[in-house]
Assembly symmetry: C2
Homo-oligomer: 347 residues x 2
């Protein structure tokens, strides 16, 4: 029911995802009449792998998370997350209200041990491959401890999802700042930098990175607060769309340009596909006991299908076990380091 | 002396700027031997409009602003700014240490009446024209009052520089946030939003905008804190470079692509020029009694020439008088509004 468009975009997105992945099955939670009408247009084979779960209400896009929590039980969002808790679904995907999705996921699925709040991770295509950026919108204000948690979760995520099954893959982690020098940035960023350097966590910590390092692929994981991360992600999208429009206009600007575009059309189509912002839609909420993926509210059917693919890939990966293993190992190390520092301070 | 490269990049940049603008004259402050060696390669006509001003020291890129202030007198940066104060130069341009440049400019030129701290403004090409984004790095943490000041300075800047001399041009102003709803964002952003709505300032305030609104050109002026603005600017640059590399690779990917690129080469060159991130280099420091323009530390000669052009355009525009007029008018209105609100509260 979520997103800027609801069932008329979600249903075709589900159709695309099911066609691309023959082993996938989807439970659709929402207003029975609306959802059934929207999936009626899908081919029979694909529709056969959909199951509609009627929900009596849905969460509005502008509802406050606290209000959504109070009246949330029985809503389409609630039921989708609860299906994960009950083991009926392996992952939940929503294009709905981000704050409500996070609060509800936290309440229903609970946080993995040692973690405080979920973070949303976005996967960016870069010069060198893919970089995971987190948080991109779940936590507007973050203290140093949270940033360190994001580093741990982000590294585990990158290892599980983009590590190619190589146990020796150690993702490099950078902390987003306005410069690479030690004295740059605000207090929380500098404190997190000190902690990542000194706590002795089993992380390949690279140090500060800047905005241009994201697309450069300088590190595998970029850590930032949810305000900055969300602005960076949306700014990048806007720039990609702007340049896409410029390229299109360039090839319409005269007869030679049009002929050139025609001759190079195969390569240009490949480029368009590679750079489509919709392709990278789907931000998993990290830190929960279960998989929840946030799709952009404004995503089209193709974008929503990508979010479903991200959820399916995660569900099939070693991701949950990986996070669990890493957190246990790293929180122990952190506790020991803090204790040692305390003992030193007392001595 | 500043920037990642110093005179070997600054001097050719000066050369480009002088060739493009026959009425321009440049004072070069720095190490006499180094600067003279660097400009020796410029054509005689252009070199004749350069004057080298020997400085006994220069500020390092990683020097703390406080340290730079203490030992700054007599440095190349200090002398360049002081030439503006003395009326010998109409503007100062530096690719050096941002924090030091800001602190020194504030000390030497002082802030315009009613303003607290300078902001650096960046001009972005957008779908609709150009948008001014501020602050992009001068103020890492900003409270609500500062954000409101940025709105005032940004609108005056856009009016003077991009208003095309039309006195009726009223730039629209947006506040950067993670969503457009009232309850979104952190406290300072929400408080600034309330102030911009309720203070009765003579501004065309549009409300919250998101990252993707920058390149879309939704508003003429985007206001944000220096941390977020700097990350957004550098992220956008990184994305532009990444897509540029993708376009290049696409046209090398096979014989048809190469032929297409050859035929469309004229249009492609135009696009490359339009989208060159160096073209938009040069961020004026707003709020000072004088014009100081910050160039990217990593700018190439072409980028540095752009920063000089920005400074020259500003010096020739009605900008300083405009800011002054606006600030007087708006601070009066703000004071009246605050007074009225206080009277209401007391009643």
């Amino acid at each position: 029911m979520g997103g800027d468009h609801g069932p008329p975009v979600v249903a075709p997105g589900v159709g695309l995802a099911l066609r691309r992945d023959p082993d996938l099955r989807i439970l659709l939670h929402g207003d029975e009449a609306q959802v059934k009408a929207a999936i009626a247009r899908l081919p029979a084979e694909v529709r056969g792998r959909c199951e509609v779960r009627p929900a009596e209400k849905s969460i509005a896009m502008d509802e406050k998370p606290s209000a959504a929590l109070r009246r949330g039980k029985g809503s389409s969002m609630w039921n989708a997350i609860d299906a994960v808790r009950q083991g009926e679904a392996q992952a939940a995907v929503s294009a709905g209200n981000t704050g409500a999705l996070m609060a509800m996921s936290k309440l229903i699925l609970r946080m993995a041990e040692g973690l405080e709040r979920p973070a949303i991770v976005a996967t960016w295509p870069t010069m060198k491959g893919v970089t995971a950026v987190l948080d991109v919108g779940a936590n507007i204000e973050c203290d140093a401890e949270q940033l360190v948690e994001f580093a741990i979760m982000g590294a585990a995520f990158h290892h599980a999802v983009h590590g190619g099954g190589d146990p020796a893959h150690r993702p490099s982690v950078g902390l987003l700042n306005v410069g690479s020098e030690e004295q740059k940035g605000h207090e929380d960023v500098r404190e997190a930098h000190r902690m990542l350097r000194e706590l002795g966590l089993d992380l390949d910590y690279h140090g500060f990175v800047e905005g241009n390092d994201i697309a450069k692929g300088t590190v595998d994981v970029v850590v930032t607060d949810g305000f900055t991360g969300n602005v960076a992600l949306k700014t990048a999208e806007g720039v990609a769309r702007f340049i896409g429009a410029e390229v299109k206009n360039t090839f319409k600007s005269g007869p030679f340009a049009m002929l050139g575009a025609l001759i190079a059309s195969h390569a240009l189509k490949g480029m368009k596909r590679r750079l489509d912002p919709g392709r990278v839609n789907g931000g998993p909420l990290l830190g929960l006991n279960g998989i929840v993926v946030k799709s952009h509210g404004g995503a089209d059917a193709n974008g929503f299908a990508s979010a479903i693919r991200v959820a399916a890939d995660l569900a099939r990966s070693d991701f949950s076990a990986e996070i669990d293993r890493n957190m246990k190992r790293l929180t122990t190390a952190a506790a020991e380091a803090v204790e040692a520092a305390g003992a030193q301070g007392a001595a």
